[in-house]
Amino acid sequence: MTGNRRAALTAIVSNREIVPGTFLMAFEEPRLAAEVRPGQFLMLSIPAAHDPLLPRPFAVFNREGPRVEILYRRVGKGTGRLAGLKRGDSLRALGPLGNGFPLPAPSVASLVLAGGVGIASVHLLLLHLLKHQSVPTTLLYGARSHQEIIPLESLEAQGLRIHIATEDGLRGVKGTVAALLSTTPALWEDGAAASTEAFVCGPMAMLRAVVARLNRPGIRTHVSLESRMACGYGVCQGCAMPFKDKENPERVRYRKVCTDGPVFTADEIPWGKTEAS
């Protein structure tokens, strides 16, 4: 396989604001669509533009045949430029990158927790679980406001149990995903087998709160982390974050979020010491 991979040069098929501030972009790239596993990501850039200079990391939200879909929130310069792209505009996509989520055995109960646009990183996982698990899968999904909640009817139709929390309280429970988790523990325990795999993606504060609450016997928690990235494929060392050193759990060791992650088990992360990203 030496030397024959390339960053794909592709063209936007569609790009629209599906809820205020959040966009769904699609392009066709059969290889990426075929290869990508849940939790992996792409580095996206605009070929001719030098501002921003660096590509930006995005999870693959969905795939359908040759089509790849990205769900992203407009937060700064790079996502602002993406939001301005129109059908036919060209895009460079490198990937799929990262380790992705470890996929549980079909009989294992799965609990997925997403905060905000973190839903993008777990969406392919949800599709996988709905297709392969013999036990029900639950999604706890929180957002700042009810307007930010991405419609997930088709997942619900496939049997996903969705519980929503919004900070404005106008949809689902008022509060955060973490609150949802602790105030209604029965939510996810009822269907849970002896062991549960939890998958979490969202802002650092949410991760911290959720992981603390999931820290109990029988639950293994996988967290998809974010970090500022320059390359996304392991060469710049820019994305390093501190993790527990296996040999000496009191010390930290820098590991790369892009190639060692972005998915880590919660117990690898020194929660007290981790930088808010």
């Binding site: 490198l94 990235m229 320059a230 392991g234 060469v235």
Partner: protein, 311 residues
């Protein structure tokens, strides 16, 4: 069409093309393997190796700026012994010219690196990173004091038969003097430039974007500065110069060659495209073809400057 000759001689080596990787921007080369055949490179320059492994700096380590990026990786690396035991055998499988970038905090550090690595098969030369603080001399970098630099080079020179290429820091008043000192010390070549010290502040948190406050600026933002330093140094020294700083395209590389560089390195561009070196090579070949030039060597130093015009 006659085949274009992309080869260049450099510091006793013969390179297939004038395009190399820049240290610290492609790890030990192994992460590039899915994207390019390393034997197509002019040379592979691996990330800086120190005697002992280094952890690197705490995050955040990088920040984008207008036309560039700041990094404070902190020279994280696996150390000399792990490099020899784990990386070198794998790199030997890929027939590429290998330059090992070395870094130390004392002359003895550099000597140990040169001694240990010179014995190894598969290493074609050294690129000496002199941007680190010299612990013996109050932390002033080897690369910012002319006499210290010359002394270091002269100290290392007798220890190896392999080419010694000195990578200069741009954070100096007089790059021409530094280049001359490195040559006087016995360097076989120079790499110009390393990153320029810069910083950036998050106005919301009021904190610097990098945990170390100051980092190194790279990318197209610094290209004019790198090019100027290459041009100035090339006018002074006889040894070949490798130009680096902000090269994204074949045309960018041609600018450096015209200004007097014998080869170029590609750094930050790898973060946009892992096959950036191949893209740059193709760009140079296209330029040569368009201009009916047979050999890339003809470009080296071929800038046209009306002497009366120099400021």
């Amino acid at each position: 069409m006659t085949k274009i000759d992309m080869s260049v001689p450099l510091a006793g080596l013969s390179l297939k093309t004038p395009v190399m990787t820049a240290s610290g921007t492609c790890g030990y080369g192994l992460d590039l393997l899915p994207y390019l055949d390393l034997s197509r490179l002019g040379a592979l320059v691996v990330k800086g190796i120190s005697v002992e492994p280094r952890q690197g700096n705490p995050p955040p380590r990088i920040m984008e700026t207008c036309g560039g990026m700041l990094n404070a990786i902190g020279l994280e690396n696996i150390g000399m012994e792990a490099f020899v035991a784990e990386v070198l055998p794998r790199l030997r499988e890929h027939r590429t010219v290998l330059l090992v970038n070395i870094l130390g905090e004392s002359e003895e550090d550099y000597a140990r690196l040169v001694d240990r690595l010179s014995e190894q098969e598969g290493i074609d030369g050294f690129e000496v990173n002199v941007s680190c603080p010299n612990v013996r001399r109050g932390g002033i970098a080897f690369g910012s004091d002319p006499a210290t630099l010359e002394h270091l080079v002269a100290f290392l020179r007798p220890r190896t038969e392999k080419p010694l290429i000195i990578k200069l820091s741009p954070n100096v008043t007089d790059i021409v003097d530094m280049a001359g000192r490195a040559e006087a010390g016995g360097a076989d070549g120079l790499t110009l430039i390393n990153t320029i010290r810069g910083m950036s502040v998050d106005v919301e948190s009021r904190r610097p974007h990098l945990a170390t406050v100051v980092g190194g600026l790279s990318g197209p933002a610094i290209k004019p500065i790198a090019l100027r330093m290459v041009w100035e140094a090339a006018a002074r020294v006889q040894i070949p110069i490798i130009g680096v700083g902000g090269i994204l395209s074949g045309e960018d590389a041609v600018e450096f060659l015209l200004a007097g560089a014998s080869a170029v390195q590609i750094g930050t561009a790898h973060f946009r495209n892992p096959a950036a070196c191949i893209e740059v090579m193709a760009g140079i070949e296209g330029y040569l073809a368009r201009h009916g030039i047979q050999a890339v060597r003809e470009l080296i130093g071929a800038i046209r400057v009306d002497p009366s015009r120099e400021a």
